[in-house]
């Protein structure tokens, strides 16, 4: 049963009307298309001004469409960006995130 005051259960993409689910997936594809390329810039240089927000947003949104592994990676990336921001670890996490979410980006 969901906690009425704090954390609730994780949303999995089931039980919603098909059109709502399709809409969520469409929106997530758009979000990946806009945010993932900005995060990929971490492979070539220091974090940009939106990197932390992009990682945070993808971490939350991925759960909505059932991409929980990608959510964990995005949250780890967010934590790294908010902390030590070790370049090697950033690169590893970005590559992992690209592997997990790359299929959402239109060819």
């Amino acid at each position: 049963m969901p906690d009425d005051h704090g954390r609730g259960p994780s949303p999995r993409p089931r039980g919603l009307p098909p059109e709502a689910l399709a809409g969520l997936r469409e929106a997530f594809a758009g979000e990946v298309a806009s945010r993932l390329p900005r995060l990929m810039q971490l492979l070539d240089g220091p974090p940009g001004p939106d990197a932390l927000r992009d990682a945070h947003a993808l971490g939350s949104s991925a759960v909505v469409v059932g991409e929980n592994d990608a959510s964990r990676t995005a949250r780890a990336l967010e934590a790294e960006l908010g902390g030590a921001a070790d370049p090697a670890e950033l690169h590893r996490l970005v590559r992992e995130l690209v592997a997990e979410l790359g299929s959402w980006v239109p060819a």
């Binding site: 704090g6 089931r14 919603l16 927000r53």
Partner: protein, 373 residues
């Protein structure tokens, strides 16, 4: 909304993520009792939308570009006070202080976005959102001065919101406790919806060298109480700790009842015992349970204060305190975010003095024989 022709409750959703906005819209509109009338992508848009659309409630993320969620809440609550339900990933676990900051800024409640390790279904989560929105939309919120003052550069973190309002003459007929009456040793405070902000106002006015121990029972979910204690500890003069079984309440220290059960005062040495909630107990930690234990242990050597909150928890406990000769104070309707618990206590005859929020601490200090300004 006319009861004869019910129409959907107007809601504005605020999130920079299109996925979250779409999910929120689908979730809150699923049963037809809410309609999303506007979507904002940042705090500034949210303030403008609320001003233009005047929704019945706002569902808002905290991590927003352009203007943060906290600043947007402050501005909305200072300009067009509207019930705000915070929906954010930044309010759980180590970030729980953000939840308290949002509540202090005027948000009615907070709900954590789910994480990758949570379990459940989207439908369940949508149901929680709607249930919380139904409650939030009924809350009669009051204007908060902090956003306005901050925008004018007049205040920073506002350690006491009560101090931001013009001080009125001390109205209550509260007198120093008469000689011969047991010396007051404990001030017990109960609060629920709107409580963190009210606690900040009340506790911010109590001096660091208070001779009495202070016990606070705030309805709050598991995991948020340490954040509440830490947050208050940084803003009020007295030290703030979370209560533990077997320890004593200490004069000059504010003890917050932990979540997950009830904190009972066992004896006049102020030792406390944390117990599981009673079967069927809805509000945790329970104010009635704590107040009744204080009444048994201390009687007239205690003061009971019941602040804003939905429901009636605390009313019977305050009555027990009054019945044992303790001074009892209740927050008035005009300054309560939700005039539920104090109203229930007032109806029971449990409230000796009903006061505006910013006059409770001065009245308390008068009763304790302290000089106040």
């Amino acid at each position: 909304m006319s009861p004869d022709r019910p129409s959907p409750v107007a809601v504005v959703v605020v999130d920079d993520s299109p996925v979250q906005r779409r999910f929120l819209r689908a979730a809150v509109e699923a049963e037809g009792d809410f309609a999303v009338v506007g979507e904002a992508r940042n705090g500034r848009e949210a303030v403008a939308l609320v001003e233009r659309l005047r929704p019945a409630a706002v569902l808002m993320d905290l991590d927003l570009p352009v203007m943060s969620g906290i600043e947007a809440i402050e501005r909305i609550m200072s300009l067009h006070a509207t019930p705000i339900l915070v929906y954010s990933a930044f309010v759980a676990g180590a970030n729980s202080e953000n939840a308290l900051e949002a509540l202090a800024a005027g948000a009615v409640d907070v709900l954590a976005k789910p994480g990758p390790d949570d379990t459940g279904t989207l439908d369940e989560y949508a149901a929680v959102l709607r249930r919380k929105l139904r409650v939030a939309a009924r809350v009669r919120v009051i204007t908060h001065p902090r956003g306005r003052l901050r925008s004018q550069g007049l205040t920073g973190t506002a350690p006491s919101l009560g101090s931001a309002t013009p001080r009125r003459p001390l109205a209550p007929a509260v007198q120093p406790c008469p000689e011969g009456r047991d010396a007051v040793r404990l001030v017990a405070v109960g609060a629920s919806t709107g409580g963190p902000q009210a606690l900040l106002t009340l506790l911010g006015q109590l001096p660091v060298d208070l001779d009495q121990a202070v016990l606070v029972v705030q309805h709050m979910a598991e995991g948020f109480i340490p954040g509440l204690a830490s947050w208050l500890d940084g803003l009020v003069p007295m030290p703030v700790v979370v209560g533990e079984s077997g320890r004593r309440l200490v004069p000059g220290t504010i003890t917050i009842a932990p979540s997950g059960g009830n904190l009972l005062v066992q004896d006049d040495r102020l030792r406390v015992l944390c117990t599981p909630p009673e079967p069927g107990q809805f509000h945790v930690p329970g104010i009635d349970a704590s107040f009744e234990s204080v009444a048994r242990a201390l009687g007239p050597a205690a003061v009971g204060v019941l602040l804003t909150g939905m429901g009636r928890d605390g009313a019977a406990g305050l009555l027990a305190l009054r019945g044992r000769g303790a001074l009892t104070l209740g927050q008035d309707e005009a300054t309560s975010a939700v005039y539920g618990m104090p109203a229930a206590a007032q109806a029971l005859g449990a409230v000796e003095h009903q006061l505006p929020l910013d006059q409770i601490a001065p009245a308390l200090l008068t009763a304790l024989g302290r000089v106040h300004q």
